[in-house]
């Protein structure tokens, strides 16, 4: 290519702009498509009971750890418990080191997926960290639940 065949500066700028725009729009569309498929939705046990996510899809489950439901399995590192929201209950299994503030009767957000048998297999448990850090879902849920409890007892 000789200098004469190189495009004019103005055209070069337009071509560069067009390429950048096409790539960025393509990236945006791809991202939107991927997000629809890959975002992990938040469920409470009632949602799981009425409209369960397909098994294997990454979701998050939030609710209260039911009193008396927590037990440890023979391997010493797997725990099973039930998460409830007052209306529905979901059995959960977690293999790993549970966060230290994870106790019965407190709120928890579990990241993981449902298996075919209707048990939630958690990869990660988020419990209340300290007074400054509460998973947002947990905080909102507690307020919501508090309102429900008030409504039920009146």
């Amino acid at each position: 290519m000789t200098a004469a065949t190189m495009i004019k500066p103005k055209h070069q700028r337009l071509v560069l702009l067009a390429i950048a725009l096409v790539v960025l729009v393509a990236a945006g569309l791809l991202a939107a498509w991927a997000l629809r498929n890959q975002a992990s939705y938040f469920y409470v046990p009632t949602d799981i009971a009425t409209d369960p996510p397909e098994p294997g899809r990454a979701v998050r489950l939030g609710g209260m750890v039911e009193k008396g439901s927590l037990r440890q399995e023979g391997d010493g590192v797997t725990i099973a418990f039930v998460v409830g929201d007052g209306k529905a209950r979901v059995p959960v299994r977690f293999k790993g080191i549970a966060p230290s503030l994870f106790v019965e009767g407190s709120g928890v957000v579990a990241e993981g997926r449902m298996n075919a048998g209707g048990t939630f297999i958690a990869d990660n448990l988020l419990a209340k960290h300290d007074e400054n850090y509460v998973p947002r879902e947990l905080k909102d849920m507690n307020e919501h639940q508090a309102k429900q409890v008030v409504a039920e007892t009146q």
């Binding site: 990236a27 590192v77 080191i97 960290h129 007074e131 879902e137």
Partner: protein, 648 residues
């Protein structure tokens, strides 16, 4: 008194920022030209006052002055001194004061050192810096005053979040902020150049060291933050796509693109409007990050406190600064004349490709980070994690890395692929050999496979620009580029290897029991209580032996802090040349066994070594540029001096 002293200094600094804005902006309109002389001194004194104010807060924290609300809420007298000191920025108000201080000091540094910009551009730049600073002063003084007193001093403070009580707190936030907020200089330069329409190679040469400096700190800050999260959280991962990590990654992506486009502008007088745009975008991303972190709109371990008022305030600042800058860009970009032409196959062409890819990655990360907010507005609760970020990022990272290997071999302006065919064949051959070698291993995921196959070839390709050159004569800036690109290859190898070859074991072990993880045999020697200055802990000495070699003892702990009452797991690490052993102690199982989580992570430390090499590359390039500039100035003075003597 110290608190009041600090507050007064902060107010004075804000007043000086106002003066700096007026004195910088008025002369540009043709009035008040005599004010122009005040701009540089105002910037310098403002930086000094910020530093004084920040020092006052540090003193308050070191003394644990419990009559100050912030200290009482976040410190404790029994805390070790280093955490009292570093705790200054381990909270919302303190970290915002650090932000403003870095911004003030950057402005002062520019005002004192930068002599190459035309005077009018300099005035506009410093006025821009003052404008942005003023917004953050207002935020600090109106809604986040760090010096607020309590009517009744507390008897004891609430203490610092134990996760932050680590030496990482002393390094990571200040380094990150120097980069994050240092980018404000690039932003102000871009604004200044837009206002005076003086965009060209001379401008780019003046801007480049400032971008480089901020980028070096940003790289180091992210690297340090990643390593800190890796060993402190005890989850075994080094990057979680947490909104706050993304908030530091986005400015880094924009700054990396800016760094390369500013080089094109300096060397070849092309990519003029694009460079200005990136200057605006880079610091805008820092501000978006601050909004995400400080407003508490997203769930994150970094969200100190959720306060809607603060969120609204930062959002308004964001809208004014970013909106204003983009508006200015839209109005003026058309008047920035086109740069020099170049062919597709050229150094410029490769750098444009790299810039577009970096921008696309930035878009992917930004979109994924903000998506939960968008979805929430539509009534859905979602979170976005690695299943989105990893493949989507790789889609653009891989082509970018391939071009990164080839780009530095191309000539400026116009080149032929045929000229570098031997190099290309060598690079492709290395990728092929690595891919065939790796295919023997089963069970490697697609992304780690690509990463490993590329890393070796990238490392070799990154050294190719040195081929045929006399190494001692090669400019420092070239060495810097080579080292930084080599660092990328090293980090990529570490990431891919960690992902492909990590072995994990989760067991409940009896005392005296031995567990095998990868090549390691690990014996639980016992469990014993230990005590620290503000915590007690259970410690499990573990004897680890590599392929039957002599045992090394590790000491992971489960710590209980008493103020605030909280438990943390202190992981223990053992680093060898070929990887890292990572152990975490969990809880006691029902039958008296102890939960242990063990990882063997081959070549994982290369991730952070690569990060450090990238930053070192930046430092070499910066040194090279500064030395060359100083030499040029010295030579010019010499010539002037000779002429003067000859004239006599």
């Amino acid at each position: 008194m110290t608190a009041e002293f600090g507050l007064v200094a902060l107010w004075l600094a804000a007043a000086l920022a106002a003066l700096q804005l007026i004195a910088g902006a008025l002369p540009l309109t043709g009035r008040g030209g005599e004010l122009a002389g005040l701009v540089r001194p105002a910037a310098a004194v403002q930086g000094l006052l910020c530093a004084v104010s920040f020092a006052a807060l540090v003193v308050l924290f070191c003394q644990t002055d419990l009559s100050v609300k912030l200290v009482a809420a976040n410190s404790h007298s029994a805390k070790p001194f280093i955490y009292k000191l570093a705790g200054t920025w381990g909270n919302h108000e303190g970290s915002m004061l650090l932000w403003v201080t870095v911004m003030g000091l950057s402005g002062a540094f520019v005002a004192l050192v930068e002599r190459r910009l035309p005077e009018r551009t300099m005035l506009a730049t410093l006025a821009g810096q003052a404008f942005v600073s003023l917004g953050f002063y207002a935020f600090l003084l109106m809604s986040s005053n760090p010096f607020e007193r309590l009517a009744q001093p507390k008897v004891e403070g609430n203490g610092l979040n134990p996760l932050l009580q680590d030496i990482g707190l002393a390094f990571h936030p200040p380094t990150l902020y120097l980069g994050y907020v240092g980018l404000s200089v690039a932003f102000s330069f871009a604004i200044g150049a837009l206002i005076t329409r003086e965009v060209g190679p001379a401008f780019a040469r003046a801007m480049r060291p400032w971008v480089l400096g901020a980028w070096i700190f940003l790289t180091l800050g992210i690297t340090a933050g990643s390593y800190w999260a890796y060993y402190e959280l005890g989850w075994g991962g080094w990057w979680f796509w947490d909104p706050v990590e993304n908030a530091s990654l986005m400015p880094w992506l924009a700054a990396t693109a800016l760094l390369h486009s500013v080089s094109v502008l300096a060397a070849r007088n092309a990519l003029r409007a694009w460079t200005i745009m990136l200057g605006v975008v880079a610091f805008s991303m820092s501000m978006v990050g601050t909004f995400l972190v400080r407003s508490g709109v997203l769930t994150s371990v970094h969200a100190f406190a959720v306060d809607p008022e603060r969120g609204t305030f930062i959002l308004a600042l964001l809208a004014i600064n970013i909106g204003g800058a983009l508006m200015l860009f839209a109005l003026r970009a058309g008047t920035v004349t086109e740069g020099e032409r170049f062919a597709v196959t050229s150094r410029e062409g490769a750098l444009v490709f790299n810039n577009v890819m970096l921008s696309a990655i930035l878009g992917i990360v930004l979109f994924g980070t903000l998506y939960p907010l968008l979805a929430e507005a539509l009534g859905a609760r979602v979170s976005v994690g690695p299943p989105y970020f990893n493949p989507m990022g790789a889609l653009f990272v891989v082509p970018m890395l391939v071009v990164m290997a080839v780009g530095p071999l191309l000539r400026w302006r116009r080149d032929r692929i045929g000229r570098i065919r031997h190099e290309l064949i060598a690079i492709a051959g290395l990728v092929g050999i690595a891919a065939i070698g790796l295919a023997a291993w089963s069970g490697i995921g697609l992304l780690p496979f690509i990463g490993l196959a590329l890393a070796g070839a990238l490392a070799v390709a990154s050294l190719m620009p040195l081929r045929g050159r006399r190494l001692l004569r090669t400019p420092l800036a070239t060495w810097g580029m080579v080292l930084a690109h080599f660092g990328i290859a090293i980090a990529l190898f570490g990431m891919a290897s960690e992902s492909a070859f990590s072995v994990e074991k989760l067991v409940a072990a009896k005392v005296g029991e031995t567990t095998q993880v990868g090549p390691w045999a690990i014996r639980l020697d016992g469990v014993q209580p230990v005590a620290g200055p503000n915590w007690t802990a259970i410690e499990a000495p573990l004897s680890a032996s590599y392929r039957g070699g002599s045992a090394v003892v590790l000491h992971p702990q489960a710590r209980s802090f008493w103020q605030p009452p909280q438990q943390t797991a202190e992981s223990a690490l053992l680093t060898r040349w070929n990887g890292q052993l990572y152990v975490v102690l969990g809880e006691e199982a029902d039958d008296g066994r102890w939960q242990l989580r063990l990882w063997w992570k081959p070549f994982a430390p290369l991730i952070w070594l690569g990060g450090v090499l990238i930053a070192l590359g930046g430092l070499l390039a910066l040194l090279g540029r500064v030395i060359a500039d100083l030499r040029r100035i010295a030579a010019r003075e010499k010539i002037a001096y000779r002429r003067e003597r000859q004239g006599r």
